[in-house]
Symmetry: C2
């Protein structure tokens, strides 16, 4: 039994095995279940839970933070993959957003509370059970690696892939500095230029081959320096592991450094320009940083290995981050595509959403949690 602000939550509410409803493509998990544990539990069903932020986060935590990751472009973010939630409210009452145990594929009954709790970062209630969508595991996979002379050409390629409606499962950009870091950290031998890692999913070999060939044509029309789609499953696993280790690879570039990570997301039409401007900004200010991201969603991160004790450097990095956020906001984007607001980004929220929307957030917060016991101080900017 744990307590939070006077609310009692029993162990049974927190720990339990995933319950798969195979024919309905949903699985219910308690807070004790992580993403990998969920996939292990259902591995014999031919189904999988696709949302993959890299880290082995708890699924309920991923709901609370509205996580996404590398294959959101094909399978959606958490918001598109949550069907029903059990939530403990600030007054101790327990609700099921869609009614206990229900999982129709669609519903018009009552307010959409599921989505209200997704991404609320613990400020509106505690998620004690999540029913999420699971998907048929793709029967055929292939991957491609393609490098470009500039980040602008790489990003423009992504835009065109989307415009041609090719259902890529992942399309990730790593800029030159990130590729250098990955080569060193993961003992790879990739060409040191802006690179796309792409994955294709399909129900037969031909489908995957057609997607690969269509994307190859687009890459070539954007001055691709190469296009390697012949990776074996082992090589593919190595590449994606390197991608997932990008953060640690960036940190390893500088002894004693810790990571400062940005998370903007912009409309696709602005992606190539915003990434190019950001890369120029880093170079111009002589800031060590890598660009890596889920560019199929318009979302990219800059990983900045920094020495936390160096106040001057800290200010320099903070200024860079502010400029990046303002650049994204000016491009009709957001200060956070998938990491959430927490404490650090509250200062941008008024500029992004507008005063009235921030006030509405306070109205809702006050209605649900009048004593401010749910993750106090997070997400909401001061009134």
């Amino acid at each position: 039994m744990s307590t939070l602000g006077g609310i009692c939550i029993s162990t049974q509410q927190i720990i339990g095995d995933p319950v798969l409803r195979e024919q309905d493509f949903v699985c219910s998990v308690k807070p004790s279940t992580t993403r990998i544990a969920l996939n292990d539990a259902i591995k014999n069903s031919g189904l999988f839970f696709p949302v993959d932020p890299g880290a082995d986060a708890s699924v309920c935590g991923m709901v609370a933070t509205s996580a996404s990751g590398t294959n959101a472009i094909r399978y959606g973010t958490m918001k598109e993959n949550v069907v029903n939630l059990e939530v403990v409210l600030a007054d101790g009452t327990i609700i099921d957003t869609k009614g206990k145990g229900r999982c129709p594929r669609k519903s018009s009954a009552g307010f959409n509370f599921t989505e209200l709790f997704v991404g609320s970062e613990g400020t509106l209630g505690i998620i004690t059970e999540a029913t999420v969508k699971v998907h048929p595991r793709p029967q055929f996979l292939s991957a491609a690696v393609c490098s470009f002379p500039t980040v602008h050409e790489a990003a423009s390629t992504v835009v065109e892939v989307l415009q041609w409606n090719i259902p890529v499962a992942r399309i990730e950009l790593l800029d030159t500095v990130q590729i250098q870091a990955c080569n060193s950290y993961s003992s790879l031998n990739l060409r040191e230029s802006p690179t796309l890692f792409i994955e294709f999913h399909g129900s037969n070999e031909k489908e995957v081959a057609d997607q690969t060939s269509a994307v190859e044509d687009i890459c070539k029309s954007h001055e691709a320096l190469d296009f390697d789609s012949g990776a074996s499953p082992d090589k593919r696993a190595t590449l994606w592991k390197a991608r997932h280790n990008a953060y640690y690879a960036a940190l390893a570039m500088r002894t004693g450094a810790r990571g400062f990570t940005t998370d903007v997301c912009v409309p696709i039409s602005k992606l190539a320009d915003v990434i190019s401007e950001t890369r120029s900004d880093l170079d111009e200010h002589e800031i060590l940083g890598t660009v890596v991201g889920h560019v199929g969603d318009g979302n990219f991160h800059v990983i900045l290995p920094t020495i936390e004790e160096d106040k001057t450097e800290h200010r320099k990095i903070q200024s860079f981050s502010d400029r990046l956020v303002r650049r994204a906001l000016a491009a009709d984007g957001t200060c956070t595509g998938e990491h959430g607001i927490g404490l650090g980004k509250r200062k941008y929220l008024r500029e992004e959403l507008g005063e009235n929307t921030v006030r509405l957030m306070h109205t809702i917060k006050h209605a649900l949690d009048p004593n401010n016991i749910m993750n106090p101080g997070k997400v909401l900017p001061e009134l």
Copy 2:
């Protein structure tokens, strides 16, 4: 200028042309724009707005009622297709749920207000602008018509198509009585047995042919009586027009009748049983009614041509509807898949969502609309 409960809304807020942002696959519309007008406005872009409830509803109205329709199985319902909303709140303030003009493909910034207003049926605010997703128009289409000896086999076919992850664009069931009605109303000559209308979308001919052949195999394994996929574009248009006219066809079966329509949605695993039981219920109680629906989502309607003045009949039909809703709820489904709660279904909401969730709806309603001026009396059951 119109006023509502003291709120002034200017004509400019209501009337205006759709604004397409082609490269970002979004289009912003004012309340004056209907679904067909939106598609007309963007027809030269190669993009289309897919949500299709049959009627030519206003897009902002479709947001408010969380509409869906025949191709939600492939393109999602309104909830999955709204990116940003401008809403006038009860106190007259105007908010943009994601911030003015913003349209990143994903965001973790602040509460998910967009989805809170989708399906709120005007009880939380008035939607004065909706930015919705538009999709590349499929380059290749084909259709198939397939009849079965029983509704159970037809519905089981749908379940298996989903399990094989075949991305059908539409899959609609019409039972024997509905087919008879359509044959008569739309001058068709379809076999009078439970029938699936199926549509396939793809980016090349092979993709569409592969989907068609995979679905044909599944149909045949469920004792399909025939499988006709050779329809010309004209024939295809005739079929879908007949499907969209199903409601009027059912009414035409009985002179002077008006329509009473149900709207349950159940998890796919329960679909075949719930439809079969419903058909038996109609037959057993000698009620004239047709079964038709978006079975790929587990959502189906019973259209009941009734003489409104006949009180005995009205009670009989109401009892049938109550039994149907309870059958759907017992199967972990919902009383409304796409038509909304309005007035008539408030009585089921407590049973479906649970007392605590209904109380939370009141908490939110009171916080946003303390004077109850926004579509008063709708959606929320009495406390």
